[in-house]
Amino acid sequence: MIAPNAMSSQAIYVVDGARSPFLKARREPGPFSAGELAVQTGRALLLRQPFAPTAVDEVILGCAAPAADETNIGRILALRLGCGLDVPGYTVMRNCASGMQALHAAMQSIREGRSHLVLAGGTEAMSRAPVMLDDAMVRWLARWSRARGLRRRLSLLRGLRPRMFRPVPALLKGLHDPVAGVSMGQTAENLAHAFSIPRTAMDAFAARSHVLAHRARVRHVFEHEIIPLVDERGRLYDHDDGVREDSTPGRLARLRPVFDPPWGNITAGNSSQVTDGAALLLLASEAAIERHGLQPLGRIVDVHWAALDPAIMGLGPVHAASPLLQRHGLGLNDIDIWELNEAFAAQVLACLQAWQDEDWCRQHLGQPALGALDMDRLNVDGGAIALGHPVGASGARIVLHCLNVLRDRGLSTGMANICIGGGQGGAMLLQSCAPSAGSDTQEAAS
């Protein structure tokens, strides 16, 4: 395997970013399509820039499952935001890290000199995942549309069976690994088993996510990050509605396991929520920063993609972040702020344990154990367990929030990493450009 080269020296800046409120999927389809989430977020993000939407060169969106009537969401977004008929757009898919993949694609476009200003991120409306027809039903319908004559039609009608009417939720298929033959939740059960993670630890971590998210909301941490949305009836959505301020390990302990009933450990409470949301960032070259006189939020310094056994995909972050740390000569706690996507509490805890496990690190990373990650640096404002995990958007949200926290706290280095269904991991090493409080050198551009 060839080790990836260090990134070229051309700096890729994050100018600004914003996200929609993350809205938990409930029984029926949610108030916004994936396209609508992205449009309302994107237009507000562009409105607060000193340049017009026509200055954007390209739009790239991650989306794991775009709806049939908006399959190339990236291009649709470019058109609906008024970027201009001549601005290309496309949509990328790398499961849970589609949003991060979009950011990487934007970086590559800028490095190749094709674009200077790119709108990139991700969106997902999981509540609107289609309910499909059974395969047998689809075949029957095809025969019916070809049928001519009463006799043929009657004979087809006799061939109908009740089980053909059973609806197939696309969402469940999407959350099931087609090669390993396990659901995402079962991969987390695998990790719980491999690392002996008790149920109580999972529930405690889950409660932590809610407490931190609620605290962040009360302190208006998300004020600049979240764009309030308005639905067709004039109702305002201005906060992440999955956060439970009454969450405790005790309450979570009462929930039943969903993926390996009845003896499993992973519940709806200690898993990420099924959610609708969008997160968008503006990436720029140095030339664009100068041309428009921008004050960037930060830089994406480096990226790494890794792959592993799909049955334990939750360890993806370790496989992706560790090479980044090694390349840049950093330890776990040399990173000021970590965003590690909380697909499942068990999965995050497994990652933390893996880094501390000497045997595991030597076997899988070829290096000694990296040690204990300081919890005060990890997901400081909660994570996907409380906020939700709209599959296409999360990869972008964690990059955005990491940079926002670095700015707010006057810190400098961040890592956003994410496990990927199908057995992959993605990581981005980030540097803040905002003036840091109590630091001698200022990193602000122009």
Binding site: V39, R43, A44, L47, R48, P50, A52, R80, L81, G82, P228, V230, D231, E232, R233, G234, R235, L236, D238
Partner: protein, 648 residues
């Protein structure tokens, strides 16, 4: 086949022979942006029929070379100069006979309609065997003659009921409303709505396809029978009676009479048309139409650069309504308010407006994309104009201007929707007061066509032009008014409302007063209007205009009891579900209406004398379009010319 060199040349239309022997007749009136059926064009049409009678085509397609539309109808200017005598009768007869002739030609004819197709233009299309309409939002067909106090005299009244059935045709002719392409296809008014990319091809194929002319089903056709027409007309007459219980407008009843007796042929009973033409109502309605054109011209001729992005501050009833209307008309809008819920509510109502007015879901979505919530005012540096509709308080507005001014794009200007604060005083809050203009919309924004453009001596001429241009872009009528309390409309309305309240002080019942004014021709009585506007607003404007003259007791009593009118459920009336409970009025005293109108007339005259409005015609136009003042009277000053002359 006629060689091309034998084709005659015309000034107002083009005639060409196309493939398969189809004659293509293009309406293209000289020196005009729209086609109008004046005598020259009608004469050339007759010549075309002469020529084609000698050199028969396989078919004829009539289209328009004007981008704006097919045909806007008869030339109203030419027509209104004719009076009621022989010239008018001849004008009517010429059109009727020509279209009859067109309907009888032995080759198939097709009208290819785009844009506006109104009045005589639609009658021309109805005389063709087939019609195709181009499927675009600006394709509108209608017979609006009733709005000018006349009736479709060139065959529309006969042919439309025959084509789509009387139950569908009569209400449309009586209201003068227009129909879009898809609905026209559904009704059978046109054979189909076709996309632009297929128009000429579809016309050529359809006209030669040998399809018989469209007819409604048998049961609808029988309703056009001589014996059944009176029954049908009686039903339609009930709707007319409801809309015009006092019989101010003779045209609808004349139309029903003409249709029921002679199936709409004015040549068989020339008296009907003559009576209408002689009626002062017709003259006044034509005058109102011409006043409307004059206001439109103010906007058209401003020739200002297009405004593409607007920032609205204040998401209340007015601000939200203005923002929604701007987005409907294609502008990008950012809407700011300190309260995000207010913005959300405004957006919800905007969505309803878009659904009512836009043809399909795609257009609705595009309009919603253009209307952006902006609680932090990020849209200010991107806007060509800022429209502010924040509360009526000088302090609040000055603070807003101070925050806005440094962030404005060069060339951007500020328009204030204030109804009671002096522009000069507001301008003191700006470093550059020449970029402040008053833009006074009326409530509800979506329905009221008038916008007062308030000027001061400081106002920059370029800003004034761009403001008039903006009003034109919004499809509304700009009325330039010099800054003064109440501007024109509120200044004129308030003494009228206060006088009505004084009548209540004297013991008259509100229902009687309002009935007097409705019988006189106002769309709504003064006390119902006061309740709708809000008694607190009435007091504020009253104090502003009347100075320290005492307010009517009845007004003060209601206000002290917190009865503000419709918005609080009680005022001069009790309001339930947005409607007032009106007790029966009983007999109306003589002279009451005149007594109430007098202050309106006096104030209007005064506004003209002081130069608030440029002339009496514009004052009339403003009052008609801003208050719904009885259009059949032609306007308060027009209705009272003698007294106006006396005052001079």
């Amino acid at each position: 086949m006629t060689p091309a060199s034998d084709m005659p040349r015309f000034h107002h239309l083009s005639l060409a022979l196309g493939a398969e022997g189809i004659a293509w007749l293009g309406l293209d009136m000289a020196d005009s942006a729209v086609n109008r059926l004046g005598t020259p064009l009608l004469q050339e049409l007759a010549q075309v029929l002469d020529h084609l009678g000698r050199h028969r085509p396989t078919a004829m397609i009539i289209f328009s070379a004007k981008p704006a539309g097919f045909c806007a109808g008869a030339d109203v200017a030419e027509f209104s100069r004719m009076g009621a005598g022989e010239a008018a009768q001849a004008f009517v007869a010429r059109g009727w006979r020509l279209f009859d002739r067109l309907a009888d030609v032995p080759w198939p004819t097709l009208a290819l309609i785009h844009g506006h197709c109104l009045g005589g233009g639609l009658e021309l299309a109805l005389a063709c065997r087939h019609r195709l309409a181009i499927d675009q939002p600006d394709t509108r067909m209608g017979l609006p003659e009733v709005r000018l106090g006349i009736l479709p005299a060139w065959g529309g009244l006969m042919r439309l009921p025959r084509l789509i059935g009387a139950p569908a045709a009569l209400p449309r002719v009586l209201s003068g409303g227009s129909t879009g392409a898809r609905e026209a296809a559904r009704l059978g008014l046109v054979d189909a709505a076709v996309p632009l990319r297929l128009a000429r091809q579809a016309a050529a194929q359809h006209v030669l396809a040998g399809v018989t002319a469209h007819r409604p089903p048998l049961w609808l056709r029988t309703l056009n029978h001589r014996r059944l027409r009176p029954l049908v007309a009686r039903r339609a007459a009930k709707a007319v009676q409801r809309r015009d219980p006092h019989g101010h407008y003779p045209a609808p009843r004349a139309m029903l009479e003409l249709w029921q007796t002679v199936e709409g042929n004015p040549l068989r009973t020339p008296g009907v048309m003559a009576a209408l033409l002689q009626s002062p109502v017709t003259g006044n309605l034509i005058r109102v139409f011409q006043l409307q054109e004059r206001l439109k011209d103010i906007g058209r001729q401003a020739r200002a650069e297009r405004i593409s992005q607007v920032h609205v501050v204040g998401a209340g009833t007015m601000g939200g309504g203005i923002a929604a209307w701007c987005a409907l008309r294609g502008l990008r809008v950012s809407l700011q308010d300190a309260n995000p819920d207010a913005i959300a509510r405004a957006l919800g109502e905007a969505t309803q407006l878009f659904r009512r007015r836009l043809p399909d879901a795609l257009a609705v979505r595009a309009a919603r994309d253009r209307l952006m919530p902006d609680p932090h005012g990020h849209g200010v540096p991107h806007a060509d104009v800022i429209i502010e509709a924040v509360p009526e308080d000088v302090g609040i507005k000055h603070a807003l201007y101070a925050a806005l001014e440094p962030r404005l794009q060069p060339g951007a200007f500020i328009a204030t929707n204030t109804s009671s604060l002096p522009l000069e005083q507001l301008g003191e809050g700006l470093q550059a007061p020449q970029r402040l203009v008053g833009l006074h919309f009326f409530n509800p924004v979506a329905q009221m066509p008038l916008v007062e453009v308030i000027t001061t001596t400081a106002l920059d001429a370029g800003v004034f032009a761009r403001t008039c241009g903006l009003v034109h872009q919004l499809g509304k009528l700009p009325l330039p008014v010099r800054s003064s309390p109440g501007f024109l409309v509120n200044a004129v309305l308030t003494p009228y409302l206060l006088e009505a309240m004084r009548c209540v002080d004297e013991g008259m019942r509100p229902a009687v007063i309002d009935e007097a004014m409705r019988a006189w021709g106002m769309p709504m009585g003064p006390l119902e209007l006061a309740d709708t506007v809000g008694l607190d607003v009435a007091r504020a404007v009253g104090e502003l205009l009347a100075g320290d003259a005492t307010l009517p007791t009845s007004l003060r009593t209601h206000l002290d009891a917190q009865e503000l009118g419709r918005k609080s459920g009680r005022g001069f009336y009790t309001w339930k579900a947005g409607k007032p409970e009106r007790p029966p009025a009983g007999p109306v005293p003589d002279g009451l209406a005149e007594r109430l109108v007098q202050p309106m007339v006096d104030t209007a005259r005064d506004c003209v004398a002081r130069g608030i409005v440029a002339d009496a015609d514009l004052a009339d136009a403003g009052i008609i379009f801003g208050t719904g003042f009885a259009p059949f009277r032609g306007g308060p000053l027009h209705d009272n010319p003698q007294r106006f002359e006396e005052a001079q």
